[in-house]
């Protein structure tokens, strides 16, 4: 592995750097004239609205907006402009989503994301313009996620935010019990603590092993990395850490230290209600509760009280309707999970069930169908996930200053008959349904040549012969050929 590369990333993590890649932003100006502009939750809809995007950002929005003379114009009086959806948590679009190592906080999805994966294409097609990619749920402490836009053929083009947080799971990974999972979680943080204590001990003893190790690995020991800093954070502290230049801390441990010091976000998966307690306990004990988002399965609505008390937001894994089956009678009860969360004032974002028909638009629509207000439902797929990712001021609604991520819908955005006709990301027009061959194929299956009704055993149409003549002719033709063959054979026998 490239040591320099690793080091650069490690420092980016420690600084909690947000990189809103300006390279991808359009340099030019774009004006969208839409039949209606739906700005987002809590904002008024604008009939015949105009959105002007300059350098990738929304520069103006309204009815009385002057379109710059040099702006490219999308004139769409029949379409409805809508903010791009924000996926708060997804493990799609990657090579295998989990590394088979229990604590692997040093890994990053950056190295696993496949920019040409169909997932990203589908995301655009269905209006998702910002995605937090996190490692899969089958983990203990997994790697760091990142926020991407589903545009570009390299990871750098796709990058919105280099580090969106570490993935953890309170649900036993495959083959583990709840107890071993809990033990493994504790061990990850125990190991960090022992490592830090050992560094301090060695430093006191005048042992420079850590420094030699760092130099051997080619780590950067200059600048900030040359300085020691007392341990921050609210949970536990290792005394004397200020003696240790930060560059000397094992890079496999550094991301977890950032978590404990409150400098990194966490996405903690809970597949069962019982896991919620474990996740909150681990987050509390290690001081990152305030930066934790729970990724919960629908059944976890049962722990809504505990979640509400902890004050953490959640990403609800699909579906929004949970079917509880009584183990005694088999009787089923449907529970509308977002409704339960709302009742307890838990802040939640929705997530996609599949990459197409049941992606975020559908989840929000279902919430409306179950009685949630349109505003709340749309917030759960736009502004709330944006806030969760620390991008509340960047994406999630159409407002001046925000990134120019705009969908143009053929009709009401949450209707089953509406299509995303165009997508603008960072002020670039990146999707046009009229040019989308795959969606055309899906929508209008075309019979390949030669498969139209050609007649068969009982066909009322005349079957055609190999030479294009009709079947009666064909039968005669075959008969003649057979005769000829016999004759040929007979002649052959004679000779």
């Amino acid at each position: 592995m490239n040591a320099h590369h690793l080091t650069a990333r490690a420092s980016a993590i420690l600084l909690g750097a947000i990189l809103l890649a300006s390279a991808a932003a359009a340099e030019g100006k774009l004006a969208i004239k839409a039949g209606k502009v739906i700005q987002g939750p809590g904002l008024p809809d604008i009939d015949k609205g105009v959105i002007v995007i300059e350098n990738g950002r929304i520069a103006a929005i309204g009815t009385d907006v002057k379109v710059p003379w040099d702006a490219k114009v999308i004139d769409a009086p029949k379409l409805i402009a809508f903010p791009g959806f924000v996926e708060a948590h997804s493990s799609r679009g990657m090579d295998r989503p989990n590394e088979n190592v229990d604590p692997a906080p040093f890994l990053s999805v950056r190295d696993s994301i496949d920019p040409v994966n169909f997932y990203f294409e589908d995301s655009l097609r269905w209006g998702i313009t910002t995605i937090n990619i996190q490692q899969g749920n089958n983990c203990v402490v997994a790697g760091q996620g990142m926020v991407v836009r589903p545009v570009g053929i390299t990871i750098d083009e796709m990058t919105v935010k280099t580090n969106s947080g570490i993935k953890l799971s309170a649900t036993p990974k495959f083959g583990m019990s709840a107890a071993t999972q809990a033990q493994s979680l504790r061990k990850a943080f125990g190991d960090l603590r022992r490592h830090l204590e050992q560094l301090v001990e060695e430093k006191k003893d005048g042992n420079d092993r850590a420094k030699r190790e760092a130099l051997f690995q080619g780590r950067d020991l200059e600048g900030e990395n040359a300085k020691g800093r007392a341990m921050e954070g609210s949970a536990w502290k290792v005394a004397g850490l200020e003696m240790i230049p930060r560059g000397e801390i094992d890079e496999k441990q550094a991301p977890l230290l950032a978590l404990v010091e409150g400098k990194m976000a966490a996405f903690f998966y809970c597949g069962r209600p019982m896991d919620v307690h474990r996740a909150l306990e681990v987050a509390r004990e290690n001081g990152f509760l305030a930066r934790t988002t729970l990724v919960i399965s629908p059944a976890c609505y049962k722990a809504a009280d505990v979640i509400a008390e902890a004050g953490v937001p959640v990403v609800l894994e699909n579906p929004v309707v949970y079917v509880e089956s009584d183990p005694m009678t088999g009787a089923e009860t449907e529970i509308f999970v977002p409704g339960e969360l709302k009742k307890k004032n838990v802040r939640f974002a929705l997530s996609s069930s599949n990459t197409t028909t049941e992606s975020l638009w559908f989840q929000a629509a279902q919430c409306v169908g179950r009685g949630m207000t349109r505003n709340d439902a749309i917030a759960a797929v736009t502004t709330i996930p944006a806030d969760m990712l620390g991008l509340g001021k960047q994406v999630g609604s159409l407002e001046v200053g925000k990134v120019g991520n705009v969908l143009l819908y053929s009709g009401e955005p949450l209707s089953v008959t509406s299509w995303v006709e165009k997508v603008v990301v960072d002020g670039n027009e990146v999707y046009d349904r009229s040019k989308d061959v795959r969606v055309k194929h899906l929508l209008e299956g075309k019979a390949p040549a030669g498969t139209q009704a050609m007649g068969g055993a009982g066909s009322a149409e005349k079957p055609v012969c190999c030479d294009g003549s009709d079947a009666a002719e064909h039968a005669k033709h075959l008969e003649e050929q057979e005769k000829k063959a016999k004759k040929d054979k007979g002649e052959g026998d004679d000779k």
Partner: protein, 403 residues
């Protein structure tokens, strides 16, 4: 819009199926009543007494209120009771078997279907046998097996394609293995069909050749009830149609063919028009791929309907609340079908296919009081089924439903 939405609190949905409310006379008013028998009625009132619809007219102030009312949905391929117990292993051709004899009236799936707005289903055999047997049309709720049965022996059901032969093999290893049976190929499946039908036709002249199931096959050949064949792919749909046409050419009768799960019917509309074949489509999928490796284009329902082919939609009894029959018309509309045609494809069209349209399938005076109450425009994901009446009995109560 509706009082329902206004008073809707966000809470757990309890299904009022066991509410004990046994009354079967109601008045239901809605912003729109979609009757599936003519123009929708804005501000409509449906009067129900003793389980039957008495009137459908303009009006308001019903005991039950909602945004929209449609007829109860009908699923001809509900796939209930399709476990292994529903496959008779003594033979691959078992037309004499009646699925009605094996129904579990207490199965939870009835309630699941009912709360999804489905009031009538046809229960068919599992596709492991070539000719499964006789299907039964039943209501999803009701007091007794007798009162719930709409039509016994509604269709003769069987399958073409890979399903009846998949995993089968000649007897080796464990001879008692279920899979130690034939056919083992598509050819074998086709052969079983033709043999069964030719034998049944021959038995018409020579009664001594009749065996169990012969009379069911003869009735299917005579068109007394439809012959419903599951065929996902183009090649299997063609096989089914050619089989029908072969029977006609041989003078054995004129079977009324219905192709179930006709995912690739979009490739052969001409063939279906020519043979007057009706189709039941499987649930739409997100990427088009579906059973038996078939590709199910999203405009299939619209395309077939435009060609005059009788189309019914199905949810295949999906356990996912978001994939049931109530969502299928929406997906058909996304593929270009009109609202009216999509509504018909889950109500009156399936009723016509199995000949129960005099009793159900539309909102007309005298018909069974099978109603679905919606919180918004039907089939949109932003709407929900908030009330269901089956034979006038409330199986999902819009007053307690919190959807």
């Amino acid at each position: 819009m509706s009082t329902i939405l206004a008073c809707a609190a966000l809470a757990a949905v309890t299904v009022a199926q066991d509410s004990g409310d046994t009354r079967n006379s109601w008045t239901v008013s809605a912003d729109v009543v979609y009757t599936a028998a003519g123009e929708p009625i804005e501000g409509g009132l449906v009067t129900v007494s003793d389980g039957k619809i008495r009137s459908v007219s303009k009006g308001d102030g019903g005991q039950l209120e909602c945004y929209a009312v449609t007829p109860g949905l009908i699923d001809l391929s509900a796939r209930i009771e399709r476990d292994w117990n529903s496959v008779e292993q003594s033979n691959e051709v078992t037309p004499q078997m009646r699925v009605a004899d094996a129904l579990d009236w207490f199965d939870e799936s009835w309630k699941r279907e009912a709360r999804g707005g489905i009031t009538t289903v046809m229960v068919n055999f599992n596709d492991r046998n070539v000719v499964g047997g006789m299907s039964v049309v039943v209501k999803t709720a009701g007091e007794s097996a007798k009162s719930r049965t709409v039509k016994a022996d509604a269709v003769l059901y069987g399958a073409i394609g890979s399903a009846p032969s998949s995993n089968n093999h000649p007897a080796f290893g464990r001879p008692d293995d279920f899979y130690s049976r034939r056919p083992t190929t598509r050819m074998g499946v086709e052969w079983e069909w033709r043999k069964a039908l030719y034998d049944a036709a021959a038995a018409k002249k020579d009664k001594t050749r009749a065996v169990a199931g012969t009379s069911e096959l003869q009735k299917a050949l005579a068109g007394e009830f439809p012959l419903m064949i599951q065929a996902w792919t183009t090649q299997d749909i063609r096989t089914a149609v050619f089989l029908k046409e072969e029977m006609e050419r041989e003078g054995f009768g004129s079977p009324r063919l219905v192709v179930d799960a006709a995912a690739e019917a979009w490739r052969e509309p001409d063939l279906l028009v020519r043979s007057k074949t009706a189709v039941v489509l499987p649930p739409f999928t997100s990427l088009g791929r579906t059973g038996d490796n078939s590709f199910f284009a999203w405009d299939t329902a619209a395309l077939l309907h435009a060609r005059g082919i009788v189309v019914a939609l199905s949810g295949h009894g999906s356990r996912e609340p978001s994939q049931g029959l109530a969502y299928q018309p929406g997906y058909a509309m996304r593929g270009g079908m009109t609202f009216d045609a999509a509504l018909a494809a889950v109500t009156i069209q399936p009723a016509r296919i199995v000949g129960i349209d005099a009793r159900t399938g539309s909102l007309e005076a005298g018909k069974d009081a099978d109603l679905v109450l919606w919180s918004g425009k039907p089939f949109e994901p932003t709407s929900a089924v908030i009330g269901v009446l089956v034979d006038g009995r409330l199986v999902l109560d819009p007053r307690t439903s919190t959807k």
